[in-house]
């Protein structure tokens, strides 16, 4: 991987969902993983995301109490309105 091909940490964060879902092209996947080798901060982030998926990845809408679902929807709508 050459200097101009390096991912920044911010770019890696944006790609992490596609990485976990296997949606990155091979070359981008390799760039992503090479960054992890030398960046302990992003390695920690990847571990945290993996743990989060393990813990909550199987939740469905039915698992949420109605009040929690309403609160989350309000938060998402508020976030989107603020963009």
């Amino acid at each position: 991987m050459r200097i101009e091909e390096d991912l920044s940490c911010a770019e890696l964060v944006e790609l992490v969902t596609e990485y976990f879902e296997g949606g990155l092209p091979d070359r981008d996947r390799e760039r992503f993983e090479e960054h992890i080798v030398f960046c302990s901060g992003c390695e920690n982030y990847l571990d945290q995301m993996r743990t989060t998926i393990d813990v909550v990845g199987s939740l469905t809408e039915d698992d949420l109490a109605p009040a929690v679902a309403d609160e989350l929807l309000a938060a998402f709508r508020g976030w989107k309105a603020g963009q």
Binding site: D26, E30, E33, I36, V37
Partner: protein
Amino acid sequence: MIAHKFLGSDCTGRFSGFAWPLPSGGAPGAWVEAVPSRCASGVHACRVADLPFWIDASLWRIELTGQVGTAERKLVAPRGRLVERIEAWDAVAMREFGSACLARVSPLADRSPELAPYVADVRTFAETGKAGVAGFVAARTAEMAGGVAGYDAEREAQARWLADRLGLEYRDL
């Protein structure tokens, strides 16, 4: 075919988090199939020339079967199992690897003082046993001094050092 694989100190894959079945009593570990929940593309492994890019705490020989594909920096197979740990890759070897990187790139700072901070980083990572990071920064320093050819030459030198130190056979990609 036999290839190599780095794992963490807890013998899990750095990217998959998968805990590999370990060899026991002289017998290889259980076969591991590539499944989408770990990695959609397959079981990943290294040729000797790939090793510097994926350095981690423990190094293993791995047997791959099925259609083994090659990517720029790795092999990808549908099935693999760990055969044995390469015991020579330990904390001492990791520090020595970093020191070897430092020895190669230090002269670059003598000729180009602007590279001195990068060489200092290589020294720091070498002294703290962070071999993978030392190798990365050394390769980047060589690239700043000599372009892409410098980067490739430094990475090749790292792979050849690992081959010599660990008794592995180096082959050009």
